[in-house]
Symmetry: none
Subunit: 256 residues, 2 copies
């Protein structure tokens, strides 16, 4: 059509044809992602049809958000698991999507506040974007669990959750808490059937929603509930003495 197929295309021609810059092609050559098969005597890069095809692939993967070295990996290793690459990429894009739609909501609220003449006070900002406490809590959680497999799993999973998921999770959490409260109020001992059932539900809930929960981890959590004042406050707000009760129930469950 354009009739330039004799022996290879020059950088400029390739660049124009695929809407990339010459510098980009130079860069891909430099890092070894796409080296033109041939050069002219004067050192001009000549891209063969195969090179052009490879560039097409590169462009596609780049649009999919792959890093250049990952693209090289996928393209150079025919045994590479393309599907898993794609799935991981999809996950990343989805969580970014969630983040961004959250951002839009935040912006809309800020705009609304701005338009109605209400300057964003400290308190409003904290209401909108999360208060210092939860920020602080996240920081501490990262500090304590940041390198563990559980933390990564939790982060990976919760990033996927939609608003509806969160509502379901909240409902489940409430149900688990209610089970503990009901058991305690009924006078049942922590190691009674009701107490053990609640502890079991608690473990399942975390396992299903957040991360693989080993019995040891569950015990560790139980100890946190009485050791960490934030958790203690959380449970004791629901029912005085509940933190200790939850701890005892989990210990009873996991001790067997």
């Amino acid at each position: 059509m354009t009739g330039v197929t004799e022996a290879g295309m020059t950088v400029g021609q390739v660049a124009e044809r695929f809407a990339v810059t010459v510098r980009t092609l130079h860069h891909y050559d430099e890092i070894g992602l796409l080296r033109p098969s041939r050069r002219t005597a004067a050192g001009y890069r000549l891209y063969t049809d195969a090179d052009v095809t490879r560039l097409q692939h590169v462009i596609v993967y780049r649009r999919l958000g792959f890093a250049l070295d990952e693209i090289a990996e996928v393209l150079d290793d025919p045994d590479a698991d393309v599907a898993s690459h794609l799935r991981r990429q999809r996950d990343a894009v989805m969580s970014r999507l969630d983040e961004l739609s959250g951002l839009v909501v935040a912006i809309d609220r800020a705009l609304e506040a701005e338009m109605s003449g209400i300057r964003l006070t400290r308190e409003e900002q904290q209401e909108l974007f999360g208060d210092g406490f939860s920020e602080e809590y996240q920081a501490e959680a990262r500090e304590r669990w940041g390198d563990t497999e559980e933390w990564k799993q939790s982060q990976a999973r919760t990033a996927q959750y939609t608003k509806a998921d969160w509502e379901a999770i909240k409902a489940e959490t409430d149900a688990v808490n209610d089970a503990f409260v009901a058991a305690k109020r009924s006078g049942a001992a922590p190691d009674s059937e009701a107490g053990l059932a609640a502890a079991d539900a608690h473990g399942r809930h975390i396992h299903d929603r957040f991360y693989d929960l080993s019995p040891e981890m569950h015990l560790c959590l139980a100890r946190m509930y009485v050791a960490d004042e934030r958790f203690t406050a959380y449970y004791d707000d629901l029912e005085p003495g509940l933190a200790q009760y939850v701890h005892d129930a989990i210990e009873a469950l996991r001790a067997t």
Copy 2:
């Protein structure tokens, strides 16, 4: 809780409380985005309450995707139009959202192909993501129409299309082309009933599938078909002289 509010917080304390790194605070100091009001005799940074508040704002804006110098601009100029900043930011986030959802669609298609055992051959990829020709066309189209409303509409719509949509569109395109070919082969003039009907179908097809097509735009397209060798080749490959025929039919349709 940590109770350190006497005269100012150190970098480490601020960093922990807001889940940023010390290096980040150093960086903000370097670029003048957030300079702590005071230093100890030894040169330790001391962040006052006002500094901390400013950091909160910085963090919020950063989460909104603002660049650091933009944040500085917004925070330092009380007369800056915060609302317009927010609106521009919202637009940016929204378009990024569109892009990403397009990406998800592309990934899903690739995954589907991958899962059904079909390795992505060159041909399939080209089917999925467009061949060299359309890439070339896209590059040129962007160059020519990049700033027009039609181009944006087309981009926005086509990004949403699924594989099934594309197949339907291809079928429609074929039908339109067949109508032109049939009309021409039957010896009907471009401005005959058959020719005008084909031209009308052509216009509707583009209007429905790609972008709002005004009569003027349609005429403009018709002229492209005879002026641009790629379009000429496309139609003349179907039937010699068809490009001119299509042009004449559209002219006849829109001249009325």
